[in-house]
Symmetry: C2
Subunit: 375 residues, 2 copies
């Protein structure tokens, strides 16, 4: 994996549609992604040149966000097949990529999409078709997120509020978590573009601070007013009437409407319910796990305790540093996701429209998907 | 204010009853407190020699925790009167100390206790009586916390659980927040001493990390097993059955039983209720604001956004460092407390016993206080 400074950094101040997290460099024939572990302090693109670098990028969260994990894995499998298109390698590379993160279901969905497209082909044709499939998935993700933005915008427009619309979000479900637009932030960007005054409460999202590091950075670049708060503040903000709706993403959605998302989402859903605030979850169809009957069946990734016990930032000289927060003998536990029961979710906002978070609501979504597409 | 290394550091590994956060040095005639902003990395006692150093210690949170703030302020007022016992100075010094933190009601209670004891006296006698009153308040705090521990222990013993008792706490309500024992941690220490297997889930308590910095440090010194988690993890832990009860302190309790405590407490109370987990609040009588009809009347301190946007810890060489977490143009909002409605509180655990968190429950507590003491 090679790093280089981004020549197009100024373009990040251009309209939102120009922003993307993953791009195909046709000249070099490799995928480039923003290394999100360096944000918000450094914007670096990194080239993913082989299967190792793809696995490393996903497992170390250089790329993260369920949709982007899926798209990245699809390109990773295509890259692996361009080197060795054998059936054995197809299986081995798929298995390695699948093992990088256990919770996001898009990973499996994307790998299966590529594998299904090439499995019956002559090995000599697999690399090219796999790459074309990954490109299609990328284009589809962009289109899906844009439609999520349109459907979410309709929900935001239906909310009555006196001043600016105060939207609370958690973690990062913006264009950094997808390819463009984002899921939960897509309606925010569409509202901002439509001239609706919005303000976003960004919960910092410990332990990895994706809210502070990624969401605040994204929103600031797009000119959307936002304020960072400690995750602990979110209940109090809702209690004192400072929040008009909560809008988050999903890493995996069960067939009964339970939502598995970044740890801390469940607490916000409880506070929203207690204070009669709509709690919307924005997600592409690809995050729905139709085989998963309820959120209790979703495996919750447990990550290294060092993510809780240490922190990174910039020192007074502007140099990146890591610090130990706790005393040396401290133990920590670090689940990366939690499950929000469907009954706390006001609506699931998808590229196909908004649906009730329930088995019945997802049944209607599924019927709509099958009626609109024969696949 | 002078700093010196603590010669008695090894004593912190001795039994809990030996541990204290504030002591009177009879030889030098000054109060010494642990500088809690240095924990867990450095244990330093600091001498409070004049009114400035008392105000600084409270406002910068070198001492914190509602009971300890009150005791410290009482000694601060005594110190001020030893320099100038005039009525004007009594009023001016009280006003300065009262302004250091707006939320904890113990501050006002302790200052009024000292002022009431000296107001009618000849100025020449005020310094000595004020100091004796502060000493009495300190002794009373220790006794109250020990009784809170006994009453809380009875509640813990009534909980049925298979393995170790899993107690979740928030912020620090241990002996560092009082003089000895603590409020929420007193029952934990009593249970541990009684041979009951306990394990404490310590939520780190952003933005100032009092859970990670103070509570984990306290518990480890006392040999109580504990695990730090991000504040975001607390709902998921409750949902998966890993928590038998939640036990927190209170900075101010309203006459209807609403509890104002460290920001994030309310979210834990919501999660406890949703998962049928007892939510106990341990507090001395001195944190009850009988003039405050409901939690909505309690002023919520808003602190500097730098507490959210920067963090301190130890670098790889073991040196204390501060880091910037967010991009330079990021705004943050930093309320220090939230209000948990009485209906989410299973019981208020006081030095007088356990009471329902309601106007009726507090009425019974008040009747008991007045029947047992003519003051």
């Amino acid at each position: 994996m090679k790093y280089r400074s981004a020549p197009e950094a100024p373009a990040f101040l251009s309209p939102i549609a120009k922003l993307c997290s993953l791009r195909w460099n046709a000249a070099s024939g490799v995928v480039e992604v923003i290394d999100q572990t360096r944000l918000p302090h450094t914007l670096r693109w990194c080239e993913l040149q082989d299967l190792d670098s793809y696995c490393h990028a996903i497992s170390t969260m250089q790329v993260r966000g369920a949709p982007l994990i899926g798209i990245t894995a699809a390109f990773g499998l295509a890259q692996a097949l361009s080197m060795d298109p054998s059936t054995e390698h197809l299986q081995a590379a798929s298995a390695r990529l699948l093992a990088t993160r256990p919770t996001a279901v898009n990973l499996r969905w994307a790998l299966e999409s590529v594998a299904a497209a090439v499995r019956e082909l002559d090995p000599a044709d697999r690399g090219e078709v796999a790459l074309a499939t990954a490109q299609q998935l990328r284009a589809r993700d962009i289109a899906s997120c844009s439609r999520i933005g349109d459907h979410g915008l309709a929900l935001l427009q239906a909310l009555e509020c006196a001043g600016p619309l105060n939207i609370m979000t958690h973690c990062n479900a913006g264009w950094l978590a997808t390819v463009e637009w984002g899921t939960a932030l897509a309606p925010v960007y569409k509202a901002h573009a439509a001239g609706i005054p919005v303000h976003v409460w960004v919960s910092e999202t410990r332990p990895r601070n994706q809210g502070m590091n990624l969401t605040a950075w994204e929103l600031q670049r797009a000119g959307v007013p936002c304020t960072v708060v400690a995750d602990n503040s979110c209940g109090q903000l809702m209690r004192r009437g400072a929040v008009d709706c909560v809008l988050v993403g999903s890493d995996r959605t069960a067939a009964n409407g339970d939502v598995c998302n970044k740890i801390g989402t469940y607490l916000k859903a409880l506070a929203a319910r207690a204070n009669d605030i709509p709690f919307y979850v924005a997600l592409p169809e690809s995050t729905i796990d139709w085989h998963c009957a309820s959120g209790d069946d979703i495996p919750i990734e447990e990550r290294d305790q060092a993510e809780v016990l240490t922190v990174t930032g910039l020192d007074h000289a502007g140099r990146p540093q890591a610090l130990a927060l706790a005393a040396g003998d401290t133990l920590a536990h670090n689940p990366a996701f939690d499950v929000t029961p469907a009954e706390l979710v006001t609506a699931l906002v998808t590229e196909h429209g908004s649906f009730e978070a329930s088995a019945a609501g997802l049944g209607r979504l599924r019927a709509q998907i099958f009626s609109s597409s024969p696949t």
